[in-house]
């Protein structure tokens, strides 16, 4: 009886692994298929039945894509938009998180509550009025207009408040104060160095988010020179939708930085995303 149970258990574990493996295959399939197609010459792409691996791998789709559309420019725009946003999110999260965590001042609860409460309202719900505001100050079709909504992140502020509140002892700050340190100095030299992990988490999320923004640049970037990778790819798809090879090459270029970030920081991303619920 006991042996039979053990055997059944083994079979069960094996079955679970088979299912998990099959599922994993389904999960990576779209990415692998995109990658494989990007390296195929045109005749191989139209092969039926399809052959998974490129038989005569080629870079033509990549060079072709970069020649037909300014993907280099799109790529740099994405880097710039995500990079500036990330820097700003790190600084604003550190400053606001610290002040909300460690200082008492009138209006503190109200202001923090407002930051968190409005975080629930989805961006799509207020993008139109925001667009009209930017029409008024003539920021449509500018880099600053594209970046503006991504300069701070409510969850970043929340995360830093949690971290600074729990991980940094008030005595440390008091000691620095007794030594004559100012509040800014304390923030930069005491709190920031002790918050590396939390700040890195905030930075990673901000970068992933900033890299993938789509609907906002779609609204406010009219000039192709301002397009980020996502918008450039969409425009490219609109004009050359039949050119699957180049489309896949562009998609690979757009995905690659996120894959690199993810594979390097896999564990930290998964754990932090789970703990904070940032998305």
């Amino acid at each position: 009886m006991k042996r039979r149970n053990k055997l059944l258990g083994r079979i069960g574990v094996l079955a679970v692994h088979c299912v998990l493996m099959a599922g994993a295959l389904v999960m990576v399939m779209p990415m692998l298929w995109m990658l494989a197609t990007a390296f195929k010459p045109a005749p191989e792409i139209a092969l039926w039945p399809p052959v998974f691996l490129p038989q005569a791998p080629t870079f033509d789709n990549f060079t072709g894509a970069f020649e037909t559309a300014p993907f280099g420019r799109f790529f740099l725009n994405s880097l710039f938009i995500a990079g500036v946003g990330t820097l700003s999110v790190i600084v604003t999260s550190l400053v606001a998180g610290t002040v909300f965590a460690k200082y008492r001042f009138p209006g503190r609860g109200l202001l923090f509550g407002m930051v968190i409460a409005t975080a629930i309202v989805p961006f799509e719900a207020y993008m139109i009025p925001l667009y009209l505001q930017l029409v008024q100050i003539e920021w449509i079709n500018t880099y600053q207009g594209i970046i503006l909504p991504y300069l701070f992140m409510a969850f970043g502020i929340f995360l830093m408040r949690q971290h600074v509140g729990s991980a940094i002892p008030g005595e440390l700050m008091e000691a620095a104060r007794v030594d004559g340190a100012g509040e800014w100095w304390i923030m930069a030299r005491v709190i920031a160095p002790l918050s590396g992990n939390a700040l890195a988490a905030v930075g990673i999320f901000s970068f992933i988010q900033g890299w993938g923004i789509f609907i906002w640049p779609l609204l406010i970037a009219n000039d192709q020179m301002l397009f980020n990778m996502e918008l450039g790819l969409t425009a490219f798809q609109f004009r050359f939708s039949a050119d699957t090879g180049k489309l896949m090459a562009g998609s690979v270029v757009s995905t690659a930085p996120m894959l690199v970030v993810f594979l390097l920081l896999r564990r930290r991303i998964i754990e932090n995303m789970a703990l904070t619920g940032i998305k």
């Binding site: 990415m31 719900a125 505001q133 609204l219 609109f238 789970a274």
Partner: protein, 302 residues
Amino acid sequence: MTAARRFLTKRRVLLFCYIALAPVLALFLYVRVIPIGFGVWLSFHKWNLLSPAKPFVGLLNYQLLMEDENFHLALWNTTLYSFSTVILSTAIALPLAVFLARRSRLSAFYQTIYFLPVITPMVPVSIAWKWIYDYNYGILNYGLGLLGIKSVAWLSDPDTALWALVIMGVWKVLGYNMVLFLVGIRNIPAMYLEAASLDGANAWQRFWRVTFPLLRPILLYVLVTSTINAYNVFTQVYVMTLGSQAAPGQAVRMLVFDIYTNGFQFFRFGYAAAEAVTLTLIVLGLTVIQFSLARNDPTREK
């Protein structure tokens, strides 16, 4: 320290607080609080970018919205999409997390794989899926063909277009929900499960009687966040309805897409704002319902 100096220090620190917060709060006001309020205000006005007069029209925009067939369609499609995506992704993510809860090298490997779609940008991923769904050369139809199933025009057939989006939506969000459940399961003290074991509970009973009830808060969080996200579906709709072999616009017309069309193709900003306010109210309403359902849980009494 003298009283005067202490007072000065206190004032200096207070000043620091406000100065430090000022830029963040100004930004916050300008890009979030003001647009939210302005949006509500806008929804009571006839605001056409092309005409200079922007009269107050009361609830007219909302009234028109209730009679608008495109809105009805978008609301229905979005609801169907959201409920299907949320239910499927939760129902798959939970058992997945149970199987992966034991820490091991293999578990970490699976987590990485299942999580991969979460961090990949939506546009390239949508393009890749469009290629997978391709009627003539799509790998999905090839796979189905091997099983003896006839090719399906996944995106251009109005009957399947929405489900094609659901499949991709589940694929994209599955890993995120899985990780949330995983953390919840790992936070359950091992002694609860051991105690249940000693009492003779089998794995099935341990899951339903111990793990699942303790996961309720996380389940609620997963449901709320994925519902909010699903209702705001846009990018994949936009990409998949463009170009050749695209999905027919009406079959996958979703709320944000409808808002975008009203605002940026027809320049009816007041109307689009009313639709956006309605979307927000729907999402908030669903959140409240989910919270109250979680509170009135019959199994919690015992």
